[in-house]
Symmetry: C4
Subunit: 221 residues, 4 copies
C-alpha cells in the first residue's frame, strides 16, 4: 500500500475509499429508487397492454434520470481518482452534491406524472422544475471540481492539472447548458427534455476514460 518515501506524504492520508463507498451508495440507491416512480397502471379491465404502451413519460423520465445519474457517477469516479485524500471542506461539498443526486427521484416523479398533463402550464412547470434540479446538480458538481482543482495538497502526486482544469471547465459549461435547456422549457417542453437527454449522452460518450490510479499501486512496479 505504501510507496517510495518521497510520495509517502500523499499516500498516508485517510484516503478516499470510504468517501467513495458512501458516495457510491447514494448514487446506487438514488438510481435504483427511480423505478418506484413508474406506477402499475390501475385502469379499466382488459386495457393493460394499451396502458403499458401509453405511459411512456415514466419510462422516458426513468431513462433520462438513470443516464444522468449514471454518467454523473462515472465522472465522480474520475474526479476522485485525482485525490489521494480528502478533508472536511471537500467532504462538505461532496455532501452537497450527494444531496442533489438524492433529490433527483422527486423531479423525476414530477416529470413522470406531469409530462403529458393536459394543462400546458403544469407540463411546463414540471419540465422547468426538472431543469432547475439539473442546474443545481451540475452547479454542485462544478463546485466540487473547483475544490479538487484548487486543493493541490489533496491531489495524488501524478494528478494532471491540465486534465483537472479541463474537467472543471466542462462542468461549468454543463450548468450553462442546463440553464439554456430549462429556459427553453417555458416555450417548448419537449425540446427541453430532448436537450437533457442529449447533455447526458454527450457526457457519456465524450467523457473521460477511467484513469490509471497511481501512485500507491503503480509506484511499486
Amino acid at each position: 500500500m505504501s510507496s517510495s518515501p518521497s510520495e509517502a506524504p500523499r499516500t498516508t492520508g485517510p484516503g478516499t475509499s470510504r468517501t467513495e463507498a458512501f458516495s457510491d451508495g447514494v448514487f446506487a440507491i438514488a438510481i435504483t429508487l427511480l423505478v418506484l416512480e413508474i406506477r402499475v397502471p390501475e385502469g379499466d379491465e382488459g386495457r393493460l397492454l394499451n396502458e403499458l404502451l401509453a405511459i411512456w413519460p415514466p419510462y422516458a423520465a426513468y431513462a433520462i434520470s438513470f443516464l444522468t445519474i449514471g454518467v454523473m457517477w462515472l465522472h465522480h469516479h474520475h474526479q476522485m481518482s485525482f485525490l489521494a485524500t480528502v478533508d472536511r471542506g471537500l467532504l462538505n461539498r461532496n455532501l452537497a452534491l450527494l444531496a442533489m443526486v438524492g433529490f433527483l427521484p422527486f423531479p423525476t416523479a414530477l416529470l413522470a406524472r406531469y409530462a403529458t398533463a393536459t394543462d400546458s402550464a403544469d407540463q411546463r412547470a414540471a419540465v422547468a422544475a426538472y431543469g432547475f434540479s439539473m442546474i443545481l446538480l451540475s452547479a454542485a458538481f462544478a463546485l466540487l471540481w473547483d475544490s479538487v482543482k484548487r486543493r493541490q495538497e489533496l491531489q495524488t502526486v501524478d494528478a494532471d492539472s491540465t486534465s483537472i482544469r479541463t474537467s472543471r471547465n466542462r462542468s461549468c459549461m454543463a450548468i450553462a447548458w442546463y440553464a439554456a435547456a430549462t429556459a427553453v422549457a417555458v416555450l417548448a417542453p419537449w425540446v427541453s427534455l430532448a436537450v437533457f437527454a442529449l447533455i447526458a449522452t454527450a457526457f457519456a460518450t465524450n467523457g473521460p476514460s477511467p484513469r490509471r490510479r497511481p501512485p500507491h499501486i503503480a509506484a511499486r512496479s
Copy 2:
C-alpha cells in the same frame, strides 16, 4: 498489490473495484426493493389468514425476480473477474445492464398485480411485459459479455478465452430462451412463468464457480 514487471501494465489500471461496488449496490437495492411490491392485505375483518394464502402471485413474482437478479449478480461477479481494468465503453454497457436490473421491480410489480387478473388479456399483457423486460436484461448482459470478449486489452493476464467465449455464447442463448418464453405467454401465461423460473434455476445450478482471481494476488505466491 503489485506483481512481476511483465504483468504490471495490466495491474496498474483503475481496476474494477469501484465498478463492482457500484454494480453490487444497484443489484442489492433492486433485489431488496422487490419486497415493496408485496402489499399488506386490506380485506374484510377476520380474513387475514385466507388472504395471506391467497396472494401467492406476489410471492411467486418475488421469488422469480429475486432468483433472476441474484443469479445475474453471480454471473456479473464471474464476468468481472476476467477484467483487470475497465474503460468508458465497458462502463457504458455496464450502465445499460444496471438500468435493466434497476427496472425489474416494475415488471415484477406488474406480475404481482395482474398474474391472477380475471381478464385474461391483462394477465397475458403482464406476463409478456415481464418477459420483454427479461429479453432486454439478457440482451444487455450479452452485450457486456461481448465487450469483455473483444476487449482483450482490458483482461487479466490469465483470462481464459475459451471460458469467456462459452459464457458469451450462453448469454446469447439466454436471450433466445426468454424470447421463446415470452412468445408462449400469449397462449399460456403459466407455462411462460414456469420457464422464467427454470431459466434462472438453470443458470444458478449450471453457472460457473467463482474463479480464482489472479494475477495481483496469485503473483506473489
Copy 3:
C-alpha cells in the same frame, strides 16, 4: 496480501469480499426499508400527539425486526470470517438467506398493521406469519452454517472446527425456538412477540465476538 507458501492455496481463491459486500448491501437495505412501514398518522385535527403515542405496534415491529436483522448481520459477519473463499453451492445458499432477509419488511409491515387488530384471528394470523418468516430465515441460516461446516476446503487454514460446529448447532436451535414461539402465537400473540424479541436479544448478547481474521493478515506478523 499473500502469505507463506503452504497457505497460498487457500488465500488465492476469489475470496469472500464481493460476497460480503453484496450481502452487506442486502442486509443494510432491508434493515433501512423497515422504517417505510411506519406510516404518518392521518387522523383528526389536533390529535397528532395522541396518535403518535398510540401507534406503538409499528415502533415495536421496527425494533424487533431491526434487532433481528442487525444480529443476523453480526452472525453472518462472524460466519464469513471462517471462509477463505466461496463456491457456487455456498453462494446459492447465501442467496437463499438473503431472499429471506430481504423478505422481512413484509411480515414486519403485517405486524405493524395487524398487531392491534380488533379481530383476534387477524392478530394471530399476523403474528404467526411473522413467526413463520422467522422460521424460514433461521432455517436458511442453519443451512448456510451447515455448508460452512462441511466444506472444509473453503475454510481458512486456522478455522476452528469446534467453534463452527457450535455455531451450526446454535443456528439449528434457533429454528426450534422460532417454531415454538410461532406455535404459541395461536394462543397468546403477545407472548409470541416477546419471545421473538428475546431470541434476538439472546443472540446479540451471547453471540460470538468478531474473530481475528488470519491467515492473510496475520501471516506476515
Copy 4:
C-alpha cells in the same frame, strides 16, 4: 497491510472495514430514502408551479435531515478511524446508532406533513417528535463515543486520547442542545427547527477533519 512487530497485536483484529461498509450502507440508504417523503402535488389543474413553491416544508425537512445524517456520517467516519478492531459490545452500540439513523425518515415525513398544519398542537407535536428522535440519535452517538473512549484495547496504537475525549464530550453536549431545542418546540416550533439546522451546520463546520489513518498504512513509510 502489516506493520512492525510491536504493532501487530492491534492490526490483526477483524478490523473495522465490514462494520464501516454496513454502517455506510445504512447511512447512505437512510439519507436517500428521505426524498420519498416529498410527494408529487396532486392539486387543481394549472396550479403545479404554485404548489411546488408552496410545499417548502418537505424541502426544508429534506435539507435538515440530509445535513444531519450527512454530518453524522462524517463524524462516524472520524470515530471509526480511532479503532483498529471492534468487538461485540461496540457492534451492539453501533447497531443502536444505526437503528436511530434508519428511523429518521419517519420523523422527517412527520415534519414534512405537519410543519404547516393549521392546528398548532399538531405542528408542535410534529416538531417535538422530530426533536425527540434527534435526542435519541445523539444519545446513541454519545454512547458509542463513550465505548470508543473506554475500550482502549480496541484503539489504534496512535489514537489520540485527548481528541477522543473532546469528541465524546462534544457528543454529550449535542444531546443537551437537542433537548433544549425540543423544549422550545412547545412554544415556538420555528425557532426549534432553526436550531436543529444550526446544530447540524455547527457540526459540519467545526467538526474534525478526516484523520490520517495509521498505523497499518503509515507504519511502512
